[in-house]
């Protein structure tokens, strides 16, 4: 029964993505402004013939329905169109940038867990203590501080004044590891290039903190409140009366159950992580998907923008799917 439900949930992704593709397509066309006009408008001195040939090249002269057909069938073949600017498939460009974005998102995610789990647990166990109050104050600050401003503050403190951490790009030119997975930290471990490992790790620190801070705050708050609830539950009292050590009670009995609502929140936070990365990647010169979108906006490279937005939506939908499935395993009582 569970297997079927999960399969159903997976199959829903297809119509969702199709609907998103249509929405993106329609919005791109309905919104005022013609892509070719906009692209050419700024350079000036373009003949009508040139505009016509450009329109032909990107199928913009076809009827809307034909364009939609080309767009949707293309998606099924992994074809997201051709970049106006670079004249190569959008799919290839996205695939080149993707590892950088994944590495940064993982970095931010790991950072937020390292911060949030201990603080959330300790705040709940020692409710109203100094640690609890400080933790809550900082998490409130973390929710309210915009990520891009935090990034700039971190750059000013750690790179400009203390001069201890790099702030631009993923690694120094000389110490880029061999390409295996595209994740620099992982690649340098796999190729045993310790210099590259240190370098790429240092480059990852500040962007990860800026991107992960808001998420850390949200997770801390949710974990704290669900821990507080769980610690009052009967089975925790039972575990204590059985004479188990407090450490075992908290980690094995309480934390495991408190993680259930936390996982849902983490799923919802993936959107924040993805959205935030456009800005953080721009600030830190991180060559990922987010920076690609921002530069494409300024280059008016609509196929790239369209393709990347689709890709973002795909990641978001898939991530939420994974969270949903994970949730059923963590909490056997739920049905999808």
């Amino acid at each position: 029964m569970k297997g079927i439900k999960i399969l159903e949930r997976i199959l829903i992704v297809i119509p969702t993505m199709l609907a998103i593709a249509m929405l993106v397509f329609v919005l791109m066309r309905v919104m005022p402004g013609d892509p070719v006009d906009k692209m050419m408008g700024e350079s000036g001195n373009v003949s009508i013939e040139e505009i016509q040939s450009l329109k032909k090249e990107f199928n913009l002269d076809l009827p809307l329905f034909e364009q939609l057909k080309i767009f949707v069938t293309g998606i099924f073949h992994g074809d997201l169109g051709t970049s106006f600017q670079e004249r190569r498939p959008v799919w290839n460009i996205i695939m080149e940038k993707l590892p950088a974005t994944i590495e940064l998102a993982l970095g931010a995610f790991i950072f937020s867990l390292i911060i949030a789990v201990p603080i959330g647990v300790i705040s709940a166990v020692k409710q109203n203590s100094l640690i609890d109050r400080l933790g809550m104050a900082f998490s409130f600050l973390g929710i309210s501080a915009p990520a891009f401003w935090l990034g700039i503050i971190l750059i000013i403190i750690f790179a400009v004044n203390l001069n201890v951490l790099p702030v631009y790009g993923r690694s120094m030119f000389a110490s880029t590891p061999v390409h295996i997975t595209g994740l620099y930290v992982l690649d340098s471990i796999l190729s045993r290039n310790w210099l590259a490992l240190k370098d790429s790790f240092l480059h990852l620190i500040l962007p990860s903190i800026s991107l992960g801070a808001a998420q850390a705050s949200v997770i801390t708050r949710i974990l704290r409140s669900s821990m507080l609830e769980v610690l009052r539950a009967d089975y925790v009292t039972l575990a204590r009366t059985k004479g188990l050590s407090e450490y075992i009670v908290i980690t094995k009995h309480a934390l495991r159950n408190a993680l259930i609502p936390t996982v849902t929140v983490i799923g919802l936070q993936i959107g924040t992580l993805l959205g935030g990365n456009m800005i953080i990647e721009t600030i830190f010169g991180w060559p990922g998907l987010g920076r690609l979108v921002v530069t494409s906006i300024f280059n008016r490279d609509f196929p790239v923008i369209q393709g990347s937005v689709m890709f973002y939506a795909l990641i978001y939908v898939t991530a939420n799917l994974i969270v949903d499935i994970l949730y059923t395993y963590l909490n056997p009582r739920t049905t999808l």
């Binding site: 402004g33 401003w149 708050r221 704290r224 939908v317």
Partner: protein, 309 residues
């Protein structure tokens, strides 16, 4: 509510008086609770002062926020050597007074936050009420559409659309509203569905009241508090969103002062003049923090069900 309704039928005049008195009493009670919740009260006061400063920006700000003065470029704040009280928070890269720009920038932030929440809250609540009350095909279509809109992360959606329509205040409001009604829609729809089964609604239906009247006179007053809490928290969210878009050059266009674009333009001077980026960010942080404090306080007072420990 039922009791009140029956009274109203019997003698309109006296009830109007007592209804007003009831609301005043509730409001007094609410104020009392607000002052008891210290953090929310603090938040309310700070938000209020930001609003006042924004309203009276032209008489408060010491300089013209747009007038450049190359002689005075990149002057530090007064507490740092080289700064003076003429430009208390220093000047930016073309010599504009940062304090004045922050004061005027606050206007934009608050206006965007309030207008967006106002419009999208109104539309979302209206549609959500109808969808939740009548259900059926209308509800089905709107709910599917809202699911679809929610499958995009908000910022990506806004960046995508702003890149097509181009920057500007009006475009920004339209784009933000295009998606943000969904949150209000979902909330009011859910509340409407659960309230509709309650006895006071049945009583009103039995008395032959029109659907519109039941929806907006009977049910809405009972769910408005959750909508208000959501609205307050959303204001802070939209202020950050506007700042993020302006930061990327997709929101409010220079020379109009907006906090996001101020932070962005200061990035180039991070090494030598940290204040250009940092100080507008602090203003943003304080405002959003206060709104969140107020919002969470309101939630604890008005809607204790949602309370986090």
């Amino acid at each position: 509510m039922t009791e009140l309704y029956i009274n109203e039928k019997s003698s309109n005049k006296t009830i109007k008086y007592s209804k007003g008195k009831m609301y005043w009493g509730r409001f007094k009670h609410f104020l009392k609770e607000l002052t008891h919740c210290r953090t929310a009260f603090l938040g309310a006061i700070i938000v209020l002062s930001f609003i006042l400063v924004a309203i009276f920006a032209s008489s408060i700000s010491p300089h013209d926020p747009i007038k450049a003065s190359i002689v005075n470029r990149l002057k530090p704040p007064f507490w740092i050597e080289g700064g003076n009280a003429d430009y208390p928070l220093g000047t930016d890269e073309i010599g504009r007074d940062i304090l004045s720009r922050i004061i005027y920038g606050g206007r934009i932030s608050i206006l965007v936050g309030l207008v967006t929440v106002g419009i999208s809250g109104f539309i979302g609540t209206l549609l959500g009420s109808f969808a939740g009350y009548y259900r059926g095909r209308f509800d089905e279509i709107l709910s599917r559409f809202s699911d679809l809109l929610l499958s995009f992360p908000y910022l990506i959606f806004a960046i995508f659309l702003m890149s097509i329509v181009g920057p500007g205040f009006f475009n920004l409001i339209v784009i933000l509203c295009f998606k943000s009604w969904v949150n209000f829609f979902r909330l009011s729809r859910g509340e409407m569905i659960s309230e509709k089964t309650k006895e006071y609604v049945e009583a009103a239906q039995a008395l032959g009241e029109s659907d519109i009247k039941i929806m907006f006179k009977e049910i809405l007053p009972n769910i408005i508090h959750s909508i208000l809490v959501l609205a307050t928290l959303r204001v802070g969210y939209f202020i950050i969103l506007e700042a993020s878009l302006s930061f990327l050059g997709l929101g409010i266009q220079p020379p109009t002062p907006a906090w996001g674009s101020m932070i962005n333009s200061g990035r180039a001077y991070m090494l030598s003049s940290w204040w250009v980026s940092t100080i507008p960010g602090i203003a943003l942080l304080i405002l959003v923090l206060s709104i969140n404090l107020l919002g969470e306080g309101l939630r604890d007072i008005l809607d204790p069900r949602l309370k986090l420990e």
